[in-house]
Amino acid sequence: MKTAVITGPKDNDFTIKVGNVNGTGSASANTLLMKVLFRMGIPVVAKNYFPSNIQGFPTWYEIRASENGYMARSGRIDVMLAMNAETYQKDLACVAPGGYLIYDSTWPRHNVLNRQDITILGVPLSQLCNDNFASSRARILMKNIAYVGVMAALLDLDMEVVRELLNQSFASKAQLLDANQLAIDLGYQYAKENFECPLPFKATAIGKTDDHIIIDGNTAAGLGCVFAGATLGAWYPITPSTSIMDAFRAFCDEYRKDPVTGLSNSCVIQAEDELSAIGMVLGASWNGARAFTSTSGPGISLMNEFLGYGYFAEIPAVLIDVQRCGPSTGMPTRVQQSDILSCAYASHGDTRHVLLFPANPAECFTMSVQAFDLAEQLQTPIIVVTDLDIGMNDWMCPDLQWDDNYQPDRGKVLGADELEKMESFHRYLDTDGDGIAYRTLPGTHAKGAYFTRGSGHNMYGAYTEDSDEYKEIVDRLLTKWETAKGFVPRPELHGTDKSGIGILSIGSCHDAVLEARDRLAEGGISLNYLRVRAFPFNSEVQEFLDAHDRIYVVEQNRDAQLRGLLLLETKVEQDKLVPVLHYDGLPLYARFITDAVRTDLSRGQAA
């Protein structure tokens, strides 16, 4: 076995981390820095580590430039912009050997806080801003922009691009444009005059971001709901899902509002809680609309009862669950994939729910559209299980695609004409043998009327406490579950190696897994990789499990929930599945996986 290749920073391949205090307006500066790289054609991703707090807590922003387009967290900091005195010690410690730390040298820095293996550069940012800006607010804000100027000099950023972005941001605010340009120049000049610029690693324009966008998953999901034709969004605010409904509402205002009357052909209702939000979605879907809610783990817990109702009474619904760190309130602004089991079997009784697992913002867009089709085809709640990393971070994605020929699949719905011709209508009769019965919408025709209930019912829709009639219904729901396996998105297979070793993963682990796979291959370890994209698992998942002797199941929770689901729902032997679990609340990175795989394989060789 070859030894692992440890890669350091190089041109277009480095990570910058900015430590700030939240509420000081650093977001626009950090976004600017990231966008400059993107516009220079360098693939880039940003990870924002923010507190569950409004003002005064530490916050970090990581920008990874990756020529190969890896969108996972790098797990290595090459340049640390330490703007928060409170976290200075921690920020100093996180810099990779050989890296750089930049701090505000306006105030003296304690001698103890030093490292010999990195380069520390002091820039009097506060002093520069105090000398050049009058208001205290401007001094705070412009300090952030000034460090972008410092980075521009150190990384040799294209100043034309910086200017172009500033011009766009402040097109209608000339005064702000001047102030920002001045702040950039202050930082840039200081760095040029005092440091050796550029650093040994820098940014060079490479044109690898054409036909790509920078977008977060929540915006993409909200956009998907607009394109899918959703007319009701009902929700209760919860981090990290809130920006889905913000996006949905904003796009609806733009594309669905009559400019004269101000009236919209969609409706967003902020509910009193998640129980009500899902109730509204079920009511609207029962009535024939495409309706959805966005939430996170605690919301899923509250929605359980209605999810069981939707499953049993067979009502379409779309939920987007942006997972955060649990249990209980947990860490609301940190990521995990720990709702897998609670979503799969939400609610009491024998219930199962169809889940979709996007891996990036682009899939948030496509899968939110798919979710509405599946919900109506299968007449059941569909949960798009995404997470905070995908939902709230800015990812580089290929352009979103839309086919104007797309028409929504409304599933088996009988119209007035069909009902008129029928002798009688029975809601839960499986006439096609696929476990999916025909439904009717209120207001269509008197013959289509039925009584929707969560209590025991028979195939005719009538109340029952008869064992055989009850079993007929719940067994048919299993038939429908089998049908669903053919409808849900297929898993994505990478590699056709015969080594018998595989990786199986899910959602936002994807980019870290791809990168880990490349690193392992460089070290002579070839792994096939299957990314599960939906639950129920279809036959291809079983085939992958059968074809490999040892499978690393990579996921972001403590209890190996995906692995547990595979053990419950496939015929895989338990010992084959090796859990690789990352659950500290920060996004997964490739080295975590490569280390786990190498350790496990060397253990196997020793034995």
């Binding site: 409706c267 109730g279 609207a284 009535n287 309706a291 209120p442 207001g443 009584f451």
Partner: protein, 351 residues
């Protein structure tokens, strides 16, 4: 079984409404509630209401939660879609349903447990949003299906069948509704169909949230001496404070408008409710005075009934949310979807 189909025998002499339908066309399955249950009287008043208002049955949506009262939508209008939801959550289902199809007539049937305990929050928020629906509370002060525990509407000191005395103070549905900004608040008694039917008609026609709290005795668990929700107690303490007449749009008003105690309110479709006061102090268009009056008389153990408050002017949910007049479910997909050209434009903001 709590659902049985009614035999489809129709007497040729039955009267028909403007749609050519008889009252039989508005009936549902045979009730499986206890013989003498007040809820069955409410059900039959609803049948009469729909029949007399000439509403096509398939244009009605019936919704309920869980409990004896919530079973009753199965016992009327079997040609209407029904949604028997989960406990206390019918208001949210009705809100969602209404938000996407404003053209149906929404009837919610709930109980005191469903509305005033487990579903209290949802009730308050549906009122707050002024969802256009008729919301009936069959109020009997007890949980029937779990065999007679007190509900949140039971008065302090009222006794259960086996002698237990209620110690927790009650929540008054009408006082709550008035506080939450409800635009139509009424109280009635299941034993007074004369009063109930015009109230139901007015409530269903009212544009906004119409709450009718109906004292509807539970013959099995709460109809004994010592109960304040029994038939006897209700009859003895019954105060029809406001007599309500419902006048459809085309009909002439026959009551004298010169009478100082009569108030006529026009509903959005041109029909009218004519309110005759038995107490001249009372003003059913003044929320504060309605509240004070109701509180005073409730404290004196009087069951004040009639249309207690009405406000036709307050915007409903569709108006406050600025939604188009056309039901959202009728808007075609090509109008809703911004299409590829728009997506390209949107994406340029993300470069």
């Amino acid at each position: 079984m709590t659902y049985m189909r009614r035999p489809s025998v129709v007497h040729p002499g039955l009267p028909h409404n403007d749609l050519g339908l008889s009252a039989r066309d508005y009936e549902g399955g045979i009730s499986t509630l206890c013989a003498g249950c007040g809820h069955d009287s409410v059900t039959s008043a609803l049948v009469q209401t729909l029949f007399e208002l000439n509403i096509p049955p398939h244009r009605v949506a019936k919704l309920s939660g869980i409990g004896c009262s919530s079973k009753t939508p199965a016992y009327f209008a079997s040609a209407s879609h029904g949604f028997n939801s989960v406990h206390g959550r019918m208001p949210s289902v009705a809100t969602g349903a209404n938000s996407v199809n404003r053209d149906l007539h929404y009837i919610g049937v709930s109980g005191d447990g469903d509305s005033l305990s487990i579903g209290f929050g949802q009730l308050c928020h549906a009122i707050r949003r002024n969802v256009n629906m008729l919301y009936v509370i069959d109020n009997n002060g007890v949980y029937g299906l779990t065999k007679g525990q007190f509900s949140a509407s039971a008065d302090v000191g009222t006794t259960a069948k086996k002698g237990e005395v209620n110690i927790q103070p009650p929540i008054d549905a009408c006082l709550t509704a008035l506080t939450m900004g409800c635009t139509f608040v009424a109280r009635s008694f299941s034993g007074d169909k004369q009063q109930l039917v015009p109230l139901l008609k007015a409530g269903l026609t009212h544009k906004g949230f119409a709450l009718i709290d109906i004292v509807s005795p539970c013959v099995t668990f709460n109809d004994h001496l010592g109960s304040t929700k029994s038939y006897d107690f209700t009859r003895q303490h019954y105060h029809p404070t406001i007599h309500t007449d419902f006048i459809p749009p085309a009909e002439e008003i026959t009551v004298s408008s010169e009478d100082g105690d009569t108030i006529s309110v026009e509903l959005h479709d041109g029909s009218r409710v004519v309110l005759k006061k038995t107490d001249e102090q009372y003003d059913p268009t003044d929320r504060n005075s309605a509240y004070a009056y109701l509180q005073k008389h409730t404290a004196a153990q009087e069951v004040v009934t009639g249309l207690l408050f009405i406000d036709e002017a307050k915007p409903d949910m569709h108006e406050t949310h600025m939604v188009v007049e056309q039901p959202l479910i009728d808007i075609d997909f090509d109008t809703l979807c911004p299409r590829r050209s728009a997506l390209e434009k949107i994406q340029n903001r993300f470069r």
